[in-house]
């Protein structure tokens, strides 16, 4: 089995209202249950909004600290899931279901063994 990181891209700004978010969260929970039951789920992390980010950079022997994310953009990683699968196609199957459940774009990347 190989591990894959599913990064979920989220548009910056306020989350959608509860009547929109409610059904999405239910779908995401259903996806999670399914992945757990299949033994594909490893762990997940949900991130606070991008405004809470701080970036540190090595700077002339010291460290420079700045407010904000690593890169400016209209969307940022809002959360991630690590899954395990036999191959990329199997990982993409989980990602396909996850992208439909979250209604958000998802990047799939293999982890080093």
């Amino acid at each position: 089995m190989k591990k894959y990181l599913l990064s979920i891209y989220q548009p910056d700004g306020d989350p959608p209202p509860p009547e929109v978010l409610g059904p999405i969260m239910r779908d995401v929970e259903a996806w999670e249950s399914e992945a757990k039951a299949a033994g594909a789920w490893v762990f997940t992390g949900r991130l606070h909004p991008v405004g809470t980010a701080t970036v540190l950079r090595p700077d002339d022997g010291g460290v420079l600290m700045t407010d904000g994310p690593f890169a400016e953009g209209k969307e940022h990683i809002g959360g991630f899931v690590v899954i395990q699968a036999d191959d990329l196609d199997a990982a993409l199957d989980w990602a396909r279901k996850a992208t439909l459940a979250t209604t958000l774009p998802i990047e799939v990347r293999p982890l080093h063994d």
Binding site: D86, D87, L88, D89, V108
Partner: protein, 399 residues
């Protein structure tokens, strides 16, 4: 003297595909097959080719790969040990599953998680046996760029674990579309471009057709596979007539039909007829049918062509298809009707749009406007033969 180069072209992809299945490592497979051909170059000229060159290459390559894994596995590589066990258990078959191996390799090269550029390059490299230098030349990029592209693509297959298999039924429509478009891109790269090494480009057409035949043999129930093969055969049949000896472009209507390859036409038309009987139309089949009509008899039946373009528009409602349809309409309903259709299209940046407008305006006697359209078309075209052709047309206009 055995034709090792010909055997290489024929058997390289097959051998690599078998070795990838046996060892699950593309680089190892390629190196081993190349070693085997180097060995063949050394031995065959004196000893003669063995009865089954393909079998000899595969067996030799397999032994080379096993030797290499043995050397590496002494440095306690568990994966190499595992691959070694799997590989030595495998009987040295040449027929049977081998055919599926090549198909698996095509689908691996055309996995949707690889860029189209990488898909094309990998297909030519692993199945066509083209060298990195040849592929780089064909796509007009520096050799190091192409080498890097291939290394990255092979790295992605390995690290992301892109599976080496024919996709499941559910994935097939998407995946097959990628495979077909890669083959067509390879073909078109050889067919339309004028810059670069001409011989290599003809090689690309031949290679695309060879892979198309292979795909049709392996997936005989997919009508679009046959459609693409027929399309390529019919386009290829006109190769000798498309340019004059000094490389100038000859439009379809003015081509010497005696120069067309009538064997290719017969084969292409037979496939188109079979597709029609099956009645599961798709864009490649329709384009093949359009070219079959062009190849049929001394003059083109333009009404049939318009009807086929109407059908093609249902599948691909693009302005390019609409532009091609307008060219046919000019023959059935006259240039004025066609010009109205063309003027509605938003294709101002496309040289053929202006070339076709220019031709229609010329036929309507609107010479001043035609001259302007020719000038724009010449400006936008990057192809020397095409520019020269448009210039001779423009020169016929009255000032």
């Amino acid at each position: 003297m055995p034709d090792i180069e010909g055997i290489f072209r024929e058997e390289y992809g097959r051998a690599v595909a078998v070795l990838v299945r046996a060892f699950g490592d593309i680089d190892l497979a390629e190196d081993a097959v190349q070693d085997a051909f180097t060995e063949a170059m050394r031995r065959w000229p004196a000893a003669g080719a063995p009865p089954s060159p393909a079998g000899w290459i595969i067996t030799t390559a397999r032994n080379r790969a096993i030797d290499r894994l043995r050397r590496e596995s002494s440095r306690d590589d568990r994966h190499a040990q595992a691959a070694l066990i799997a590989a030595t258990d495998e009987p040295a078959q040449v027929e049977g599953p081998v055919r599926d191996d090549r198909l698996r390799l095509i689908f691996t090269c055309c996995h949707p998680s690889l860029s189209t550029a990488a898909q094309v390059a990998l297909t030519l490299r692993l199945l066509g046996g083209l060298s990195t230098a040849e592929i780089a030349r064909a796509f007009l990029v520096p050799e190091p760029t192409m080498a890097q592209r291939l290394v990255r693509a092979k790295g992605k297959i390995r690290d992301a674990r892109i599976p080496y298999r024919i996709p499941r039924e559910a994935d097939l429509p998407d995946r097959l579309r990628a495979v077909l478009s890669v083959l067509y891109l390879v073909f078109n790269e050889g067919y339309t471009a004028s810059a670069g090494d001409r011989l290599v480009r003809e090689d690309l057409c031949a290679e695309a057709i060879r892979l198309g035949r292979l795909l049709a043999e392996l997936m005989p129930d997919e009508p679009e596979v046959w459609g693409l093969l027929a399309l390529m055969l019919l386009l290829q049949s006109r190769r000798a007539a498309r340019t004059t000896p000094d490389g100038a472009l000859v439009p379809l209507a003015e081509q010497d039909r005696a120069l067309w390859d009538h064997d290719l036409i017969a084969e292409g038309q037979e496939i188109v007829r079979r597709c029609l009987r099956r009645d599961q139309a798709g864009p490649y089949q329709i384009q093949a049918a359009i070219n079959a009509v062009h190849s049929d008899g001394p003059v083109t039946d333009w009404r049939q062509i318009v009807a086929l373009y109407d059908q093609l528009l249902l599948f691909s409602p693009t302005p390019i298809v609409a532009l091609n349809r307008a060219v046919a309409v000019a023959e059935t309903d006259g240039p004025a009707v066609a010009l109205d259709l063309v003027d509605d299209l938003d294709l101002g940046g496309f040289h053929l749009f202006h070339a076709i407008r220019a031709d229609l305006l010329r036929r309507l006697g609107r010479d001043a406007e035609a001259a302007q359209a020719y000038a724009t078309a010449i400006d936008l075209s990057a192809n020397a033969a095409e520019r020269a052709f448009l210039q001779t047309r423009a020169d016929t206009l009255s000032p």
